[in-house]
Chain length 789, copies 2
């Protein structure tokens, strides 16, 4: 995968863009997007234009749209959900003398945009000269608050440099912004054009309000903003509101060296149920609260929130500055995606762009939640609780599919299945296991008993019922699951997908165990002894297809018997990614893997395989994995590290880490790849740290690539913090904070007990690789470590 040159500086705690990069606008807007999981605003320029793609999102605020089918089938969902670009509250336009500020006109003497991941602020610093030669300096700082979840705030100032100048700042809110059409289908385009029907607009002084409602999904959004003007006493201002926009104008004259500025506070609120007056009051109250807090305190709160986060989450990497920056950038966006989602989904793009229609997929549970569980457990708890909140819809879906239990959606915003492609939307059942296992994992990591009983147990029981109904004991006595689609999207409707089967077995096991822990609650869920016995019987006999001729595990029951894809031909035909150049009928029945699948099973269900099996499978599947998905590199890094291919692991870790900063898949403009960003952490902590948590047993098997001299990371474990510091010689474990505790830990498989306030120092001695460095399909080698430096 070729690395695009990044437009961003490499610094430990910041992502900076120097100068103008007009071809790069959409990407940088995603990279610089701010979010707290509730509100998301893309890193558009304050003046709104030019832009790559304007975007302001509220978690779970969507419009419905028809899902058209030329040939419909039973159970195909008829309504889709698409994230809506809501009222844009961040616009501040500027008139300098008689010229509007626009980066395409006049002379940009200087521009720097800078994301500070410790402060949680996006800074911009511009020196601009009008065509008449008048220079001004514009500074803006933007934040989406982690502590006041309804609030977006912008500090904006203009300084005259070389001449007296007339300044007019126009702070606006705009609804129904014109965007590029997302669909060729005129019905879909119509549904998404002007999605917001105005309901109320008003203002008092410089505080203004817009209320809108979506046409089909009937969601109501209220946005209010207010302004504090500073720096000049002699200014004129006024506010004007219309159904689809508001404008607060501040005008003054500046002498060279003088500054005028404004602080804009924007409050968002939405609801499907609450009345218009209730929402109107809600956003006004949020505004009053933040005005009382004031800008400086809001910024201090933000820093303090992040200090606490980084203290339990940071990863230090000595020797690879690009990865050092990238893993923090990854953690930053992972935090942003979930911090204040509070009972809503974590979408694949967070709230950074409209990619994938704003939908949430299984990778939220399999890539993002492991990181949040270890670094910001409350966010993980919220995300899992959201799944329970949509369990009723998932139960209805299971009924439609003629199955017991729950069938969670393959893709959704609100909870209803929105996939129009049935081999994914009805057959990728593994999403259910991902949810169940993430709930069990949360319990392992937190010992949160209330969650265990109230959230995990019902999720585990209902998903277990799906597997028990879906699978069956075959003539060979094994428990088989036929006709499913696993993680690898270049196969579909296969029998006994190993990943699905092993994850289902974990799901069933954890359900049985939870029911045994909470017998009364289980009884309320109608779990019987015989049901539990059925679950255990499935766990104990789960089918795991193995090709004894080739001496390797099969991704599914027939996988290794198929023809191997002709990668040379594909490279010659410029045929990557395959899904854009070959029909499913060509791809599905061949040995070609879009993304880690068996290898993913070897990560998350690694206790089911021997080291030799892992080494052999990794070598075999490397040769047929073309990595057309951003979900693959991090997992390949983890298993590469485990099987001793540590330099290859470094390459994959680099690729996972740089996905968005280097725009490796050329679609970061639609939003960042949250799962891949989480993958940078997974590659470092689970890869080089060798961290595993099988069935709640924390274990490490550290290994470092040559260039990384030191790797240090912190995990939040059962109310404590575990700090791990790895060098090529030693690995030092420390248990901090929390109650007086002792944690049983495995170091290369050997158990020891880590005690509060104590340090344990162990030798770093990874096992030797069992195979030579495996080969990838021609042209699909990972980018090389160090290439992002």
């Amino acid at each position: 995968m070729a690395s695009a040159k990044s437009e961003f500086t490499v610094e430990p705690w910041r992502v900076r863009e120097l100068g103008l990069h007009p071809g790069n606008l959409a990407q940088s807007e995603s990279v610089f997007a701010l979010s707290n999981g509730h509100i998301g605003v893309r890193g558009n320029y304050d003046e709104s234009t030019p832009n790559g793609l304007l975007g302001t999102y509220l978690n779970s605020f969507y419009e419905e749209r028809p899902l058209p089918y030329a040939e419909a089938g039973y159970g195909y969902p008829e309504e889709g959900q698409t994230i809506v670009n809501v009222t844009d509250g961040k616009i501040i336009r500027l008139l300098v003398d008689d010229q509007p500020l626009d980066m395409r006109y006049g002379v940009v003497r200087h521009q720097e945009r800078s994301l500070d991941m410790r402060e949680g602020l996006l800074h911009r610093d511009v020196i601009w000269e009008t065509t008449a030669g008048t220079q001004v300096r514009i500074r803006s700082t933007r934040l989406v608050s982690f502590t006041q979840r309804a609030i977006l705030a912008i500090r904006y100032s203009v300084e005259a440099i070389n001449k007296p100048v007339r300044i007019v700042m126009q702070s606006e809110m705009v609804a129904n912004e014109r965007l590029k059409v997302a669909s060729k289908d005129p019905r879909v385009a119509a549904a998404l054009k002007d999605p917001l029907r105005p309901e109320e607009h008003s203002h008092t002084g410089n505080r203004s309000l817009l209320i809108h409602r979506t046409r089909r999904s009937k969601l109501r959004v209220a946005v209010a903003c207010d302004h504090v003007i500073h720096g000049e006493e002699d200014f004129h201002s006024n506010t004007y509101v219309q159904p689809d926009w508001t404008r607060t104008t501040v005008g003054t004259e500046l002498q060279p060296g003088e500054t005028v500025g404004l602080t804009k506070f924007v409050a968002y609120g939405w609801s499907s149920q609450r009345t218009l007056p209730a929402l109107r009051d809600q956003v006004d109250a949020a505004l009053s609260a933040v005005l009382h807090t004031g800008w400086d305190n809001l910024v201090a709160e933000q820093r303090s929130y992040l200090d606490e986060f980084w203290d339990g989450a940071d990863v230090e990497v000595d020797g690879d500055p690009a990865i050092q920056q990238a893993v923090r950038f990854g953690l930053w966006h992972v935090l942003q995606s979930g911090a204040r989602a509070e009972g809503r989904a974590i979408p694949a793009k967070g709230l950074t762009g409209p990619g994938y229609d704003g939908h949430c997929f299984w990778d939220s549970e399999m890539y993002v939640l492991p990181v949040l569980t270890a670094t910001a457990p409350q966010a993980a708890r919220d995300a899992i609780s959201w799944r329970l909140s949509i369990a009723e819809l998932a139960a209805e879906r299971a009924q439609t599919l003629k199955l017991k239990g729950v069938a969670f959606p393959w893709r959704t915003i609100r909870g209803q299945e929105c996939s129009a492609y049935w081999p994914a939307g009805t057959a990728a059942f593994h999403v259910n296991a991902a949810i169940a296992v993430s709930a069990a994992r949360y319990v392992f990591w937190t010992q949160d008993e209330e969650f265990d009983k109230e959230i995990a147990l019902p999720l585990l029981v209902q998903t277990a019922r799906l597997w028990a109904d879906l699978g069956y004991h075959g003539d060979d006595g094994r428990f088989h699951i036929d006709g499913v689609t696993g993680p690898d999207e270049y196969s579909a409707i296969v029998d006994d997908n190993v990943y699905t089967n092993l994850m289902a077995a974990r799901n069933l096991r954890y359900a049985a165990e939870a029911a045994e822990r909470w017998p009364k609650a289980a009884k309320e869920l109608k779990v019987t002894e015989s049901e539990r016995a059925d679950w255990w019987a499935a766990v104990e006999t789960i089918a795991v297809p193995y090709d004894s001729d080739k001496d390797v595990h099969m991704q599914d029951a027939d996988f290794t018997q198929h023809r191997v894809w002709d990668f040379e031909e594909t490279l010659k035909d410029d045929g990557y990614p395959l899904l854009l150049h070959y029909p499913y009928v060509d791809i599905y029945p061949k040995q070609v893997v879009k993304q880690a699948d068996l290898i993913l099973a070897m990560h998350w269900c690694g206790d089911e395989f021997t080291p030799e099996q892992k080494a052999r499978a990794f070598e075999y599947y490397e040769a047929v994995t073309c990595r057309d998905s951003s979900l693959s590199a991090c997992t390949q890094a983890v298993i590469a590290a485990e099987v001793g291919q540590v330099e290859l692991a470094h390459d994959y870790a680099t690729e996972a880490a740089l996905m968005d900063l280097h725009n490796l898949e050329h679609n970061t403009g639609d939003g960042v790849h949250v799962a891949s960003l989480a993958g940078a952490w997974l590659a470092l902590v689970c890869g080089f740290g060798g961290m595993r948590d099988h069935h709640g047993q924390l274990s490490f098997a550290p290994t470092l690539p040559e260039k990384i001299q030191r790797l240090a990371f912190t995990l939040r474990w059962q109310g404590c913090k575990i700090r791990v510091e790895v060098t090529h010689e030693r690995t030092i474990y420390q248990l901090e904070d929390g109650p007086d505790a002792h944690v049983p830990i495995k170091h290369y498989g050997r158990k020891f007990t880590l005690r509060s306030g104590k340090t344990a120092s162990k030798a770093t001695k990874p096992p030797k690789p069992l195979t030579p460095r495996p080969k990838q399909p021609v042209g699909r080698e990972p980018i090389r470590a160090g290439s992002g430096g």
Copy 2:
């Protein structure tokens, strides 16, 4: 499958409906549809209203429409094709005194509609009384000419019975008739609403003309009609034309016993390329010709054409009058669908209704062409030639699918793939073998060398190339074909579907043999020796999966390892047909068969199986075949007869034969099921006659159910006619007409030579069954023989 009571009389050569059956209009319009394969008109009342569904069709005259996708994929076709209801030329309205004739008003004293399959005429005889008590008798006779393919003709007369009466006949042509909307998708509905854009309308005397063109597909249709008035000298007439309609009015007064009438000749012409004046002249010329012929001669030509057809096609059945009628009705519609198609497709519904969008599928080759090859070979020749004419489009499609050779469309009118469901549209490759084998069969039956070289060879070679590219030799040395969809639509994307593999092997074999017969022509097609060697290697090693544990052939590589569908549950839930009540993800991975698949292979590739294997497989698959397709019963009849289950065969033959006369699938209103109608012949000739033609060797293994005392049928074989007459005691073979010939024939596997003008009498001694009568899924037993009597 429950038998609906038929509204039609059971007579050997006629289908008659007595009285009014207002709930049955759409079905009777399909049953009484007249067609010559070029024009098709539904059996609507002359006065057009009331109707079930108005319909006038021209073969391959279609409109394009968008195929919408909520999630599109590589290679999905973007344009569909839908048969268009063209200008309706058959309307004759009647005013009796001041009341319009309408079967819903006044008093219908008598109505009889009668299809005469020897005459090729549809008669109607009505005695109607106005609300004022005036009685008239209306007689109409309608034909679509087999001898003048552009011509529809109607003889219409009115007789006064009890009072003097003013009569006005209005003969009309109407374009863009309002029909029920066929699609919920507004874009599709829009594309099909008023599909005809008027281009010209004119008249001279009582001859009028309408020319229209479709909006998107740009096909032009011209329709002209003229009238001969008879019975009264004192009448007034005039003709009036508008862009979308024409009207010729004939008025007079009748005394009781007097009759007035008109003969209406309608000529149709269409083209995608010819100019408007050319089409205008074409239909005018056709009108002039038929006026010169005159009604009586046109009727005589029709009879003579049909005498010749029936002489070489008729099947006589003593002892089961319902099947006797039904097999002739089936032959009648099969003939109608293909007689004058002349280089166009034979759609699944013929030209009798808009079902399946008017598309042609593989069943044209596998069900209809075997019958036409044996009874009306020229029609078979034309249909196969049509496939060659679209081979270029099929080669483009293969390229899109990254395959060599040709990939014929799963469903189409003009030749482009129109399937929006990729597991059918790109994976049901068996359509290619069906086409290839039908070409080879035609050569076996006719020894037509020109066809062999010019049509069959290129079709065989290009389809063979698809298989050679699609399949591969696995580690076991066998030739495998992975990831295809076979005939059974309750499985998809399977490996080594036995039917597909065996048909592909025949395709490859016949291609290699044809290339050997025509070395020079083969060289022009770039067939090399090594290519032929590859074909033979595939033929000799083709994979045919067998389950040795269960001792039965597998429909595909995994079939018998899957769970068996829960039929009892389905019956309880009123869940048939499955596709309307269960998702694919539930159906595909289970043992449930929509339609004969392995059993179809046992019919058409029967030489590849032993009698024991057939008996065992028939028993096994009967238990999992729910027959949710009209293509199944006839094949089950054929194999039931072969394995000695002759009474069960009689049941299935009855079901296949009565499909449309009894409206067994409740959708005959959309058009008759041509393949199932052909299936009645297959059930009798291949089932009870035991006729096979493997690799050109004609063989018979007669067996009769108890109630059928005698079965006689005629086959056209290499320019001769072979008559076979089976009783429970003897089977008599006769070779007639044609040149002095001798035909090697097998009777129960024993070869003998049948000579021109000679009779061979053999004992009828079918083998005994090897198993008890197999059981079907509960509730899916066939209707019982005799239930249609």
